[in-house]
Amino acid sequence: MKIADTAQSEGPSVFAQAAELELRNVSKRYPGQREPAIGDLSLTVPAGEVCVLVGPSGSGKTTAMRLINRMIPITSGDILLGGRSVLERDPRQLRREIGYVIQQVGLFPHQTVGENIATVPRLLGWPKDRISARVRELLELIGLDPQEMTRRYPAQLPGGQRQRVGVARALAADPPLMLMDEPFGAIDPINRARLQDEFLRLQEMVKKTVVFVTHDIDEAIKMGDRIAILRDGGVLAQYDTPREILTHPADEFVAQFVGADRGLKRLALTKVAELKLAEPNGLRADLRADGRADGVRRVSAETSVRDALSLMLTEGGEALTVVDGDGRVEGLLTLGVIEQLLADEAAEPAGDAAEPQPEGPR
């Protein structure tokens, strides 16, 4: 068993469980079709990590996800959740232990927001007071007013809030695994970014094993600890960390899929603080606290290198002064520094970062 913590949650305030997920030579073949929808797919998602399944339409990413909770029957191979085959489980019992979030949310329109969140705990037969305590806690977690939401119906909420409720409903019974099928695909770009950030913060707290399906490589890079890129026929093209996929795409298909701007995408993954910055040319750091003393714009060390580069290009400077949270100068960011980063990453042997990471969350 590789469940990070097998103990059932004692009180409602615990998100105790995350389990390792392993797909072993999984294939799915529909009768009457020559090509399989999923062909011999093997991958392991360590407990508490987000695995993004990404690929063009027809790559079977949603199918692969729905095999896991047996919404689609598997043709051959095996899927293990916490070391135990899902095929030996009663499908309904299994699904109650797997959070399920879909693009159209699928909230029950005739139930209040609170009742919606209580769906799985009710199926599991939790006592009433435990359910209502859990619902209250989850509503607070997603930033909705518990008092109001036990009266409101889904139709009364804007789209972004409905999607939050969908996530809360999936988390209600503290499942060791969450399946999310393009959960933010129907949300406008501004709110999507907000929901993505929110989910990443939430994931920091709940540390679930997550299988996240999207067709958007940018979303995959942002959300995934690991990315599984599928090609036509459900064949795994590459399974790696976002950085590794951007630095060392396995083949032409992956390189095309991640896009010609993969260098820029890599920069988005790196914070300025991670770079070997140039010396601030003998200037005394304490005198340059405003960052403008020598005409150079300053930037926080927490900024992504991509945003810093963009700033450099639009502001017309050759360098940026990097400051830490307290405004102290850490060094200078120049184009040379960024080129060095890209060169260093490319020089790393492929697969280096793909070594199985220590168990558990990032």
Binding site: I102, P109, Y153
Partner: protein, 244 residues
Amino acid sequence: MTFAALAAASGPVIPNFAAQSSSCEIHNRLFCAGWVSRNWGPVLWPALRQHIVLALVAVAIGFVIAMALALAAHRYGWLERPTTLITTILYTIPALALFELLAAPVGLNVFSAEIALVSYTLLILFRNILAGLRAVPAEVLDAAEGAGMSRTQTLLRVELPLALPAIVAGLRIAIVTIIALATIVYVVYDRGLGVPIHTALGEGPFKTELIVAGGLSILLALLADGLLVIAQRLLTPWARIRTS
């Protein structure tokens, strides 16, 4: 034989004409309140009560049958066409002809009456229940399945509650139709508001009985419809929010 039927048999003269009739009745005015109050207890109230029972029993039985048919057709899609065909044929048979058809094998009794009335509810109720079940959004069903609901749980907790507005809409049409139709049940079974209406038609110029009995039938239909509207509002608070 009811009092009214006896009266009808005795000829075109109004019962107790000589003994109690007012000048209103003698002059064949359109509406005579005195006649109504004298005949409420012996004629009108029993007919109204019988009418309510006839209609309620028909709609209740029809609802049970239509629900079973709709659930079957919801699960096995191929059942829809034959069921629609049969219930449509039943619905299109002229009511009087159906009563006559039933009278020979079944007899002049409550069974002929109810079989005919029930057969007119089936198409309306079947269509509406099935439409309601099918209108449940696919993503809602997907979410229910993904949450680990069984088929029965999905039906009871998700599909039927969401189909309720369509089901009630069907019930409203059915009950109004059956209350109107039940006025001709008298041809096989001498119960209901059809009996005083028929009597009145046979009595020549006197119109009060026709107006009152017919009016009661209309009021009853409106009342039943209104009660169902109120019931639906209480049962589906979410449906109003959705449209507002």
